[in-house]
Amino acid sequence: MISVQQLCKQHGDRKILVDVSAEVRRGETIAIVGPSGGGKSTLLRCLNYLESFDAGKIAIAGFELVPRMRSNHPTLRPLRQKVGMVFQQFNLFPHLTALDNITLAPTVVRDRPAAEAADKARALLAKVGLADRAGAFPHELSGGQQQRVAIARALAQEPEVMLFDEPTSALDPEMRDDVLGVMKDLAGGGMTMLVVTHEMHFAHDVATRVWVIDRGTIVEDGEPDQVVDHPTSAVAREFFARVRR
């Protein structure tokens, strides 16, 4: 489903990603963990080309990404319909209701009839436990509710891959479980997911694989039991010791 080959990215002299290579199979859930500033989010954002890169290449959902593509490159819009993304700050459209947030892309980008898109959106809202909030504006929703609407919004494009960029970091602890529950259901349903996260329980219990990223490289890549419980690298050992405390 995803193949990353020798990906490199730098800002001036600072190297953000150094020769990253990885494979993801259909239906896998990858938890991406590691110290702040290690390049986790950047790697994730390269996968739908919200960020460009300087060398290497990516194959994802049948599309090929190469260095320095123009922002209006014809590959990118179909790619992004196949690769959904959920942001730390939700980024719901504040002028639209929950329902309209979800129906916007299907109606505008894929020309779905409004009624069909609305039915689908209601089903998605029910799936994320917000069937009764279709008419609410984002500011009328709690953070956890907003993030669940954002997940439904991404799912409405029927993606093959979902990217989560620290989806619970901006939430109060009691709201995180609602969002994590939705993500767990999604993973259980066979969605291919990459999740940048600090939630060790999620990494341990839900993910099929864990990547530890530090200084632009994947320093560990393996089963959660192995990586989280028995890390081999000094960096990973130190990181898990710190987050457990």
């Binding site: 992004r80 459209f93 991404a154």
Partner: protein, 493 residues
């Protein structure tokens, strides 16, 4: 502001008030004061140009003209120095009454209304009203021009004559109306012969009817409460006439002609229709002018908004060429006065393309305000979080879809208060279009104030009309804003 600066400002204001008060008190005996000061101040408008008064092209500090020579000769006879005081021509009478200068000497025509309001000296010049038409035109009288557009200056005898006739009257601020006649936007111009001879009759394509439509005299204007000064001025003018000095001055300026020696026929002026009292007729004129104001404002705003949007999007998201072009547009239109832009658009482009006054007004104000709108929208677009664009892109929306469905609706909410501001400002700036001979509210106010001989009532009426236009609009914008920004209530401080 520091306290010492504040105090100094206070002193300055007190001093200004004191000077103002003195000027009022001095009304009693201007002639005595002129003698005591050794100086006669005469009010006039240099914009009238040659042969009356104009700047010396070779010396920026010197002024020339037959009225400059006349004022100097007059002052010399009175044993004092002459000093010119600049004042807009249409405000000469109220300025004299305020005490800004001692006399008016500037092509002031002898009329019954002025005679009622001021003291008028004996005449120093006989003018004829010259009708200028396009070459080939058969029109020789105002009757021939019924229903056609004829231009003149406000507050002149020509204006009164035209208003009493069946022509469509167009009021101009200065002599550009001959160009308007030549380029076909006017059917005729009626003005005093010294102006017509110099600016109109020499122009290609213009024919001046040789017979004067009327004759009248230029006189010196003096405040009602200054009979002594009137006697002094009359005596001096009589002496200048008797010993030939007046003729010598006028001859030097090629103004001495047969009119000066022929008997002056009585000027038959129609009584101004609304000379006294602010009644229904005036109200109707104001309502008509208000309609023009709102029409021009709305239409030019409808031009400014989409154009401004285009410029803002070009500046924020366009490539280097689009962005630079938008920036040049904004800097040029924002950095030069809208008045200048109106002149260029209407008069400057006239030889190539003659816009109608309304088109030029809407275009001029619309193009100018687009520059301001562009900056408002640019600010609003920049204020939106990056995450909004990223979320739209991540869903597969293209650039235009992102703008149309995500960014612009949000930017509009942010832009609404400054947009309301701009529209109210545009409503008032629309008064500038009087320079291209469109009568809107402010112009109607100045016309009415000369008819009614006072600024207060027409001024208040004008203000009431402006507020009647802008207040409902502000209220509408306030409601719209409240509806759109449910989630953006400010926190209490």
């Amino acid at each position: 502001m520091t306290s010492s600066r504040g105090r100094r400002l206070g002193v300055a204001i007190a001093a200004m008030l004191a000077v103002g008060a003195c000027a009022k008190d001095e009304h009693g005996g201007t002639w005595e004061q002129v003698q005591a000061r050794g100086e006669l101040t005469w009010g006039s408008d240099i914009e009238g140009g040659a042969p009356y008064i104009f700047g010396d092209p070779d010396d920026a500090d010197r002024e020339l003209g037959f009225e400059v020579d006349l004022a100097e000769a007059l002052a010399k006879r009175l044993g004092v120095e002459a000093r010119r005081v600049q004042s807009g021509w249409s405000n000469l009478v109220p300025s004299l009454e305020r005490g800004d200068f001692d006399i008016i000497l500037n092509g002031l025509e002898d009329t019954p209304i002025r005679r009622e309001r001021l003291r008028l000296s004996r005449p120093y010049y006989v003018y004829g009203e010259t009708l200028s038409v396009r070459e080939g035109s058969q029109a020789r009288t105002l009757e021939d021009l019924a229903g056609q557009q004829v231009g003149t200056l406000n507050q002149t005898v020509a204006y009164d004559l035209l208003r009493a006739s069946d022509v469509e009257l167009k009021i101009y601020e200065s002599n550009e109306m001959y160009a308007e006649l030549a380029n076909g936007r006017l059917a005729a111009v009626l003005l005093d012969h010294p102006i017509a001879d110099r600016y109109g009759c020499t122009m290609a394509g213009i024919y001046c009817v040789p017979e004067d439509l009327a004759r009248g005299t230029y006189v010196v204007g003096i405040r009602r409460e200054d009979p002594e000064l009137q006697v002094a001025v009359d005596d001096a003018l009589a002496a200048m006439s008797a010993d030939g000095e007046l003729e010598r001055i006028l001859t030097r300026w090629k103004l001495w002609d047969h009119r000066q020696t022929e008997p002056v026929p009585a000027l038959e002026l129609p009584a101004p229709s609304s000379a006294h009292g602010f009644g229904g007729a005036q109200l109707e004129l104001f309502a008509r002018a208000a309609l023009v104001t709102i029409q021009v404002s709305v239409l030019s705003y409808l031009l400014a908004v989409p154009l401004g949007l285009l410029l803002a999007v070009g500046r924020v998201y366009g490539g280097s060429v689009a962005s630079a072009a938008a920036r040049v547009y904004i800097e040029v239109f924002r950095g030069t006065p809208v008045l200048l832009q109106l002149y260029v658009l209407y008069y400057g482009l006239a030889p190539y393309y003659a816009f109608s006054p309304m088109t030029a007004a809407v275009l001029g104000l619309g193009l100018n305000y687009a520059a301001y709108e562009a900056e408002v929208y640019r600010g609003a677009l920049l204020a939106l979080p990056r995450g909004q664009t990223e979320a739209a892109k991540a869903l597969g929306l293209g650039p235009w879809q992102t703008l149309r469905h995500v960014l612009l609706p949000q930017a509009f909410r942010l832009a609404l208060p400054p947009m309301t501001n701009d529209f109210v400002s545009l409503l008032k700036d629309s008064s500038l279009i009087s320079v291209i001979a469109v009568i809107e509210l402010t112009k109607q106010m100045t016309i009415s104030s000369s008819d009614l001989q006072g600024y207060l009532i027409p001024g208040l009426a004008c203000a009431a009309f402006y507020l009647a236009l802008s207040l409902p609009l502000s209220e509408l914008a306030r409601r719209l804003e409240r509806r759109l920004t449910r989630d953006q209530r400010p926190a209490a401080l």
